[in-house]
């Protein structure tokens, strides 16, 4: 049963560091997602696991076996490529049969296993078609069937949904996950789409600049992002600058314009510069203050009614802007120009040291 372990893996391209000192453990039977913006090293990591890229340092273990010197064809893996890479001069059937043909299996065995894989992928109808006659979703399924037919227990997926239209993409998430879970495979899936990652993963590793910032379940990443980068990348978060007044179980933060709010736990020294994060959907708009909760006064400057939810942009009295996403059934609709209070509980406020390197990305001053 395959688990994958990367130990101190580093890969440089000239002066550019693609992956640095990477340690990762993907457990057997897990649906694991590598998430991060483009150029963060997630695809390089996948290629290192597949054996297509040689790391400069470090070791890779698949199933407890050190595979560092083993070429891709001898690693027990299946890889699904972003652009599918279906061999254009072979039919769907021949594509799926490719790895079995390489293994030198006899015709009957090949046919049995190809049809099995085609069945799973729902491609029986088009088995004899050539790739040029097929659309992206079918090519995608063909590429999955081809990887599955090989019979490997470890499935690697490189932005497998990236070339599909949004609707198909959403549908395929569940197809993919149930396929992997139904067959007891281990899957490592690369994406830059955080929603996709949340929907599909057992656990997610968030990458940035060749390093893993945090590994956790979707819930953990959402509720307790370990760094401001993760908080920004996973979910939609408002960031406000402030200074710690008091730290501990509950901390007190002074925002610009002397607005005081209570925040979650923090061990930063009093007086240090911080940024607090509050998710858009954790804020409620009210006409008045509420007991025991943070309440920031402001004015609605933009309101968009989207049916299930209402999106607001509120200008706080200190001039900071806050985006709010509020379910329509919770409270009334506020028009532009109306004065409101932003209400949110202290435990939903994340506190991070002021991030110099993310100033522009987070639109801080």
């Amino acid at each position: 049963m395959p688990d994958v372990r990367l130990v101190n893996v580093t890969k440089r391209y000239g002066r550019v560091i693609a992956v640095e000192g990477l340690n990762l453990h993907v457990r057997d039977g897990e649906y694991f997602v590598l998430l991060g913006p483009s150029g963060c090293g997630k695809t390089t990591t996948l290629r290192i696991i597949a054996g297509l890229t040689k790391p400069d340092e470090g070791r890779v273990y698949i199933d407890g076996r050190d595979v560092s010197g083993i070429p891709p064809e001898d690693r027990n893996i299946g890889l699904v490529f972003q652009h599918f890479e279906i061999f254009p001069f072979m039919t769907v059937y021949e594509n799926v049969a490719y790895s079995l043909m390489i293994q030198g299996l006899d015709e009957e065995e090949i046919e049995r296993r190809v049809y099995q894989a085609l069945e799973v992928a729902g491609l029986n109808e088009v088995a004899d078609r050539y790739p040029e006659e097929l659309g992206a979703p079918e090519l995608q399924r063909c590429s999955i069937a081809r990887a599955l037919a090989k019979g490997s227990r470890l499935l690697l997926l490189d932005e497998p949904l990236g070339s599909l239209d949004p609707e198909t993409r959403e549908r395929f998430r569940f197809t993919l996950r149930s396929l992997v879970k139904g067959r007891g495979l281990t899957a490592i899936h690369v994406t830059h789409d955080q929603e996709e990652a949340m929907a599909i993963a057992d656990r997610i590793a968030v990458f940035r600049r060749g390093r893993v910032l945090q590994v956790g379940t979707p819930m953990e990443l959402y509720e307790r992002p370990a760094s401001i980068f993760v908080a920004n990348f996973v979910g939609e978060t408002n960031f406000l600058e402030g200074v710690i007044e008091r730290s501990g179980e509950r901390s007190l933060v002074r925002l610009r314009g002397d607005l005081l709010i209570e925040a979650g736990g923090s061990n930063l020294r009093a007086g240090s510069r911080v940024v607090i994060g509050v998710r858009r959907e954790n804020i409620l708009l009210e006409e008045g203050k509420a007991e025991g909760l943070n309440a920031l006064p402001g004015r609605v400057i933009r309101a968009a009614f989207l049916g299930k939810i209402i999106r607001y942009r509120v200008e706080l009295d200190n001039g900071d802007l806050v985006e709010v996403k509020q379910p329509t059934r919770l409270g009334r609709f506020f028009g532009e120009g109306e004065r409101v209070y932003l209400i949110f509980p202290a435990e939903k406020v994340l506190v991070y040291p002021y991030p110099e390197d993310l100033r522009y990305e987070l639109a801080l001053r």
């Binding site: 597949a50 054996g51 297509l52 070429p71 891709p72 064809e73 001898d74 690693r75 893996i77 299946g78 890889l79 490529f81 652009h83 890479e85 061999f87 254009p88 001069f89 072979m90 021949e94 490719y98 790895s99 043909m101 390489i102 293994q103 030198g104 081809r146 990887a147 090989k150 690697l156």
Partner: protein, 567 residues
Amino acid sequence: MSWRRLLVRVERRLSSRGFSLLRDALVLLFLLIFVVGPPLSIFLLVLRSWGEVYQTVFADPFFAQIGQGALRWNMIQRGLLRSFEIAAVVTFIDVLIGLPMALILARYDFRGKRLVDTLVDLPMAVPTAALGFSLYLFWGSIDGIGGLLGLEGGLFSRGPLLIILTHVAFSYPYIVRSLKEIIESVDQTLEHAARTLGAPPFTVFRTVTAPLIKSGLLAGSILCFTRSLGETGATLIVAGAFYTAPLLVVEYRQLLMIPPAAFLSMILVSISAFLLALLRFSAERFGLPIKEAWPRAERLLSGRAQRHLRDLMTFSFFVLLILIPSSFIFTYLIRWWGGSPYTGNPNLGAFYQVFLAPDKKWPALQSSIITSFKVAALATGVNILAGLPMAFLLVRKNLGRLRGLLDALVDIPLTVPTSALGFSFFLFWGTKGLNLLGPGFWMVVLVHIGFTYPYVVRPLTAVVEGLDPHLEEAARTLGAPPLTVFRTVILPSMREGILAAAIMAFTRSLGETGATIVVMGLSRTVPVLIVQWVESLALPAAAFACVLLIAISLTLLLILRYVLGWE
């Protein structure tokens, strides 16, 4: 009104439908008259004087006395057969040693790759007459490998073996270059996909890369075949008493036996047309065994030791068969510069022969260089002017099936042996045809325009295909009429492509022998002069002319590489 506005106004007028139709008509007319007219009209000319042709080829009264009325026909048949045999062997060897080299250059990184890449191109810079001479000196004279091995003479005498070696050397860079480009165009991710599906590198090449490059491989092989079939300049030097079909054309022409020369040229044109058709239509139906696997054998072939062996053999073949023989002429010239290295007699040295001997070789060389340059410059200039609108016509007009026909017409001079092509020009423009021009400088220019035409149009077509039409649309919406768009947007983005095409045509023209020799009259280009000096056994002087010509071509090709960038 400023001149700029005036210019745009003129361009607007010239962009009108009428003018663009006129331009297209002129472009097509040029193609018909100056490029494909002569080789195609040869059928008509042969038919018209069929009686004469029949008599000289099949029933010559003179030879009939000895019962050999069809002697010339027999010679023609034998020449054709030999040409085919040689071309087949050459193509086979070329693919065998060129494919691994192309693969190595396209897919691997190693120290010195750029150097190897440049060296592979070296024979391209050597005009074929000079190349043939260099190979003759290396393989066939005591100054070359024969002397090194302690033989009395050369290792091989002039004849088929030396022809094959020469043809392999001159076509090698073309096949490596085209195969390398094709391999590079294959999406490497497909190969990666095959690796992850369990295929070792050799299997990946056979089942994934090979099917994707097969049409390119076939096209490259056919081109290589036609080049060998039609080569004249180098063959003249290394053939000795042996003759191939193009050599027969030259011979008949020099003996003023026009009917058999015309007949043979016609056959050669037909063969080229046939090969061209093959090139266009057969690539798709050429199957490869990709549906089987021999896991154990192929795994073995993919091993590290086997790959090293392949690399070693590829490089040694390249060095031994191509690099050293083609550059041997430099060594030879240095040894023979001041005099004979054997007797010390200065009168046998290149310096004496060229500059001091009473037969005044230096002025002859000077004037032939000037002739060569004039011819090459005129041919290139005319072809750029005529080829640019042709490239646009091919790419941008929705021609449908006509496009295939035009493409084929443009390619005709590529596959027709240049001596046959030259001869067809001689007939077309001369007394047998339009009777407008006799052999001499201007006819040489016309022939060179004809055979360099595809070398200009092909790359230009590729450049036009690569242009982004959105830029032009943007310029149109900003108020520029089509001709203004052409001048202000298209031309600047094509500059490098045009220069590359021009240099290509220029070097081709500079190195051409066969086409020149049949129409030249009293004018001499450098390659022709080299052939003549070799024939008169002024070998050191010929070597000097070769090195001079190589230096010029090499400079031009280096500029070309610089313009195109390294890759």
